[in-house]
Symmetry: C2
Subunit: 338 residues, 2 copies
């Protein structure tokens, strides 16, 4: 059996996560039992939710256990199989974690899924046509539910989730406005993804200033907001919200390090009769087929052109992850292992 | 025609409202035109939302115009009528405002409603069987929608809205927990209204301390919260919220003076997949008949025993209103005019 390099959670962050929280080890992959499949990972997905799991204590996800392989989504190829439905060469998507190989009990529900790479590149099954894409779909379609002509704002707009939110909103006749960090990301959001406007939050030092920029980008106010970051952007959006605005709360990167990030104007929820709803896509498995179908078509027809930031080799995963938390990635953050 | 004493909004509050914001004037009631009714007000309703309307600028309600009679709910008796459906002696509920008499265009939708005082005292049509009661009903039934066995918390629990929320929650098999100020109010909430527990927020100087008390009162966590006050109580409740908790946001007295009252832990909306929804009962007229029917039965059968704080005479209205904003009332705040 091949040797397998793995990254474990060595210790929990005190405040900001650092490279010292991780540890690289090498082990031998165990021999397969009946029903198991050995997968060689081609790509590893890095996602903001992983930072939440590194903390101890109450959160929506179980904490990542210490001294175990960091959990995460993977795509790869079957190299050995003792399961009748899988053969060497099959391309598969799973939750293999931060390691080069995984041994999977293929009958476990949701453990492994064959994917078709005829029209969609393998890596996109970790992004636009995977968990981040379905996350965008659920928040936009089931919570924000924009009508044609309404305005939808999304933060982290150049990211794997945000880019899909805007394209899905446009497909429903809504005005899509992104918030992103820096001119390159904003240009991608408007020119390649087709958003109507994008506001560079790095040009603004407080919520009032950002809110003025949003007023220009959203002349009819804001009807829906897809929240990926928390903090100043949320406050600025709320100041421009229309009556009956909906906020889908998907991520709050700003708060992962444990410092409290208050919402400045909760009274606007009342005065604007807003609805704010937090969700986790893994609790809504019933929407996945419909969502993946629409997302696959959008990618296949070139309407959604996902960007990827690809780090090379397992050793690069911790630094790439820390960069993601600081917004240094551009599009979906991946680690290429093959 | 009788002389009519009126209280006008003289100027807008700078920070806290004061008695100087109001002005008492005396005018003659105009002669009736066809279709009009002259109503002598027996009771005038004082409600927290009025403070919001005293501010200028964007809010859910139109601002109260300067130099005009303060808007507000009234119950009274028809003393003169040029409308075929109303006769002197009829008991009616309307929006007569802070004055002793009003001239009403009786055909205007929602302007006037005859009420039956056989089983329900006239004043209760301004409280439990009126706008505050329907407010409680909408937030509890349509937003919180508690299942039997779930825990519902309500702030300002001894007030007109809060008391109805708890009794409606109990009627649905939920555990009802109040938050109120002082031992007398808490005793009324548990002993007379039948709540399962009541926490005296005045015994706690911050959200953490209040949250510990809520943990004792809500051993299975909090599934629904009816928000009447904002600030520290909201933070304390959110710290005890269960997954998929719902918050009906009805009032935020704490924020009416314009000072920002941040929500300390918005990330809990995400980690607990909460839903927070602001609403105004006047935008949901379709529920009024069903709600008033249930509330009338609860009052008529003694299951909901509303308390009233009654100020005497129109002159007393401003001070009674300022006391309401500081929580000095006990139950529904009224002004008796006859």
């Amino acid at each position: 059996m091949p040797m397998n390099r793995q990254i474990l959670l060595d210790n929990r962050p005190q405040g900001e996560a650092t490279a010292d929280n991780f540890r690289l080890v090498t082990t031998e992959t165990p021999a397969l039992r009946d029903g198991q499949v050995l997968v060689r990972h081609h790509y590893l997905s890095l996602d903001p939710y992983m930072r939440g799991r590194m903390n101890e204590g109450k959160s929506y996800a179980q904490p990542q256990p210490l001294d175990q392989v960091m959990l995460g989504g993977t795509v790869g190829e079957v190299v050995e199989s003792r399961h009748p439905k899988y053969a060497p060469g099959d391309k598969v998507q799973g939750m293999g974690g931060w390691q080069e190989y995984s041994v999977v009990d293929a009958d476990q529900p949701g453990a492994l899924r064959k994917v078709d790479t005829t029209h969609v590149p393998l890596s996109h099954y970790l992004g636009a046509v995977g968990m981040p894409g379905v996350t965008a779909w659920y928040g936009l379609v089931k919570i924000i539910a924009p009508k044609a002509g309404q305005t939808v704002v999304v933060s982290a707009a150049s990211g794997a989730v945000g880019s899909a939110v805007g394209v899905l909103a446009k497909a429903r006749g809504a005005r899509a406005v992104g918030v992103a960090g820096g001119p390159d990301k904003c240009r991608y959001v408007t020119d390649e993804l087709g958003f109507d406007a994008c506001v560079d939050y790095k040009q603004h030092k407080d919520a009032n200033s950002l809110s003025k920029a949003l007023k220009e980008a959203c002349p009819d106010g804001i009807d829906g907001y897809f929240e990926n970051v928390g903090g100043m952007v949320l406050d600025a959006v709320m100041l421009r919200a229309n009556a009956f605005a909906r906020i889908a709360m998907c991520g709050m990167i700003a708060g992962y390090n444990g410092e409290p990030i208050p919402m400045a104007y909760p009274q606007l929820i009342l005065t604007n009769r807003m609805r704010i709803e937090g969700f986790i896509v893994s609790e809504h498995m019933e929407v996945w087929p419909e969502a993946l179908n629409e997302l696959g078509v959008l990618v296949g027809t070139g309407k959604l052109r996902p960007r990827e930031s690809v780090a090379q080799g397992l050793d690069a995963a911790p630094e790439a992850f820390l960069g993601l938390l600081k917004g240094r990635n551009f599009g979906k953050q991946l680690v290429k292992l093959v």
